[in-house]
């Protein structure tokens, strides 16, 4: 059970931060429009069909779900308070994902755009660095490899 976050729209607060279901950015986005907000920033981290010089067929994501849920809740709360956000959300997919599918989404909502942009980047950077989530790349030539994030190249 994910920790509840008070600044989320009620229909989104029911969702887990880690999911094995498709993430649909356009559907989620519609929950975040808010009459008090002038800016909604949505980041969709999508699966690429290539990494360095390798052709990627699909990815498999695995998470330590309980810890990842807590880490994401903590970073959302920290970002909300630091940038005085109206709302902030992040969801990461696990299981088998093909190119173009959304692996992670971050939505930030604020009065003005600067706060929503900065907070959005802070949230995705923290999740990529610290969340106990891992990916295995499966290549079109049949090989497979666990890949850690190279934070210097992103």
């Amino acid at each position: 059970m994910k920790p509840l976050v008070s600044f989320l729209p009620p229909e989104v607060d029911k969702l887990s931060f880690i999911t094995d279901k498709s993430i649909r950015p356009n559907i989620l986005l519609s929950s975040f429009h808010n009459p008090a907000a002038g800016a909604v920033v949505l980041f969709s981290g999508d699966v690429r069909n290539n990494n360095k010089d390798k052709a990627v067929a699909y990815l498999e994501y695995e998470a330590f779900t309980e810890m990842a849920e807590k880490l994401i809740a903590d970073v959302l709360i920290e970002a909300q308070s630091k940038w005085n956000l109206i709302s902030a959300f992040c969801q990461h997919r696990i299981g088998k994902l093909y190119p173009s599918e959304c692996a992670v989404i971050v939505i930030t909502v604020s009065k003005h755009r600067k706060e929503a942009y900065l907070a959005n980047q802070f949230i995705i950077d923290t999740v990529k660095r610290d969340a106990p989530i891992w990916k295995k790349e499966f290549y079109t030539n049949g090989g497979a490899e666990w890949k850690a994030n190279d934070l210097s190249s992103e």
Partner: protein, 78 residues
């Protein structure tokens, strides 16, 4: 006895969840024990962080009986 949880690349070397007798007092000592048990896992183990009760702990953390230690390979999310 403690429980150790392994994830991702470490599952190539260890069972996902293992009951482990306590010989080690600290995370650093546990890491050495795991390295002895599975030398091939050392390159991965050296890049891992350790967590207890859903929070990261450092190498000096004192391990208590009945605790679950989670071994966290470098993150690959996003």
């Amino acid at each position: 006895m403690i429980t150790i949880q392994f994830f991702a690349a470490l599952k190539d070397y260890f069972e996902e969840k293992v009951e482990w007798p306590i010989h080690s007092k600290t995370i650093a000592e546990l890491k050495e024990e795991l390295a002895k048990a599975q030398p091939k896992a050392v390159p991965v183990l050296n890049t891992c962080r350790f967590a207890v009760n859903l929070a990261f702990v450092n190498d000096n953390y004192l391990i208590n009986d009945n605790e679950t230690i989670s071994i966290i390979p470098p993150a690959g999310g996003g």
